[in-house]
Symmetry: C3
Subunit: 186 residues, 3 copies
């Protein structure tokens, strides 16, 4: 705050005026929010295939035997790559500003949040950063756990309930707490 040339507060006007999305991206986001997401949300729970098809229509890569609950919240389907056998529970959030990749037979439990975006708070215009998240094969992101932007979760690792992983997690690790600490090996 001391440098004279630094504004006293973030310049949100500059941030809001900045071009964060192409026209095509904007059109797709609006179409998803007014049409795609409502159909997804209101679809009966057993219609897993309908939801997978809808996501593919919006550009997502979805494998076989994938099960997303109707209450899963997805920001930009085109940024999703979901392998075979993945299950994603009630109210989980795939905040896919950047690409989210989920490996074979991984499980994302109810209320978990994969947050693939942030702001650069060192820059006074707080520019949006669209950063990737990768979940390894067979990993389990437990109930209401949080995975931050630019984080890779290793294959078979368990990120425990409500655990907050803001850094990479190695394979086969069992993590707990906020911030995440390794408490065991699978």
């Amino acid at each position: 705050m001391t440098p004279d040339n630094k504004p006293p507060v973030p310049d949100v006007t500059a941030n809001r005026a900045s071009r964060k999305w192409t026209r095509r991206e904007l059109a797709e986001r609006i179409l998803w929010s007014i049409l795609g997401h409502p159909i997804f949300r209101l679809s009966p729970r057993p219609l897993w295939g309908l939801r997978n098809g809808l996501l593919r229509l919006f550009g997502a890569k979805i494998g076989q035997q994938v099960r997303l609950h109707p209450t899963v919240k997805i920001t930009i389907p085109r940024h999703l790559t979901i392998a075979d056998g993945v299950g994603i529970g009630d109210g989980a959030i795939l905040y896919a500003l950047g690409p989210i990749t989920i490996g074979t037979n991984a499980t994302i439990s109810q209320g978990a949040h994969l947050c693939a975006g942030t702001h650069d708070f060192r820059d006074p215009t707080m520019p949006l950063l669209k950063l990737p998240i990768t979940i390894g094969d067979g990993a389990w992101i437990c109930a209401e756990a949080f995975v931050g932007p630019n984080v890779t979760i290793g294959a078979m690792s368990v990120v425990g309930a409500r655990c907050v992983a803001m850094k990479d997690v190695p394979p086969n690790a069992i993590m707990a707490g906020n911030p995440a600490r390794q408490v065991g090996t699978r």
Copy 2:
């Protein structure tokens, strides 16, 4: 991961094909989700008695002067035993895969999550575990706190806001943090 006979990832197909619920349980869950829960959810806030009656109809044991907000999410009403004078706030989650027992005059605040279920991640089929949660008389589970499976919270204890209790809490303890630590005595 080293034994040759262990699959590289969890066998979700085996898990999904496993018989987790009896026919009667399944029928009751479907009836709750398409009929019971919508009535509960849409009931006006002051109609505490209507919601209690509805839960009893679905097999819950509910005492006198119990107040559940309409936005409380309940997985299986039959697994609930709620004593007199209990209050449960906005958006609290009673994830009652296993039995949840709540003692006299206990308070469960908004957004708290009692998570009475997990998976055995040591087993490649990730079998569902339905484990009990017990909340002692007069205890207070504060806003958005989390109580894990197989956990007992002692009488009069306070599990602070956003605190994550994955182990038993003794009576009269004041807990905070993730993971939960005792920070005082009531």
Copy 3:
């Protein structure tokens, strides 16, 4: 619990019978919940001005260029003072039992919870405490962070994703974890 004159459990009946709100406050809360909030909630996302106007109608002080998403949950609009340029994201909770003041160009991200109320658990009637929260100019309360009652967040500070701030945060601090710890300086 040892003193003989202390009840074994909180006296919730006394608590519920206590007069927590004036008639005017009660009328306003009911009007907000059955009319104001539904309009707010169902308004299309780009209609930022409509939501600001609605909050002002219910007694909130809202500056210029303020952007609240339709899914923001507000308990009592009259208790809000929001300065110019503030943005509040998807599903953030302004639990304004006490006054909540948010400074110029501050950002409150998706799912953040400002919890301006608690109970005095040392008193057997568990009386409601309506306590203030103040967010400084240019501060950023990140995704799903939690700010407790009676807490002031200093200007330009960053309360990280899922961080739980139950004590005051100085200006320019970068906080993380539950409980919150300072991990850097902006």
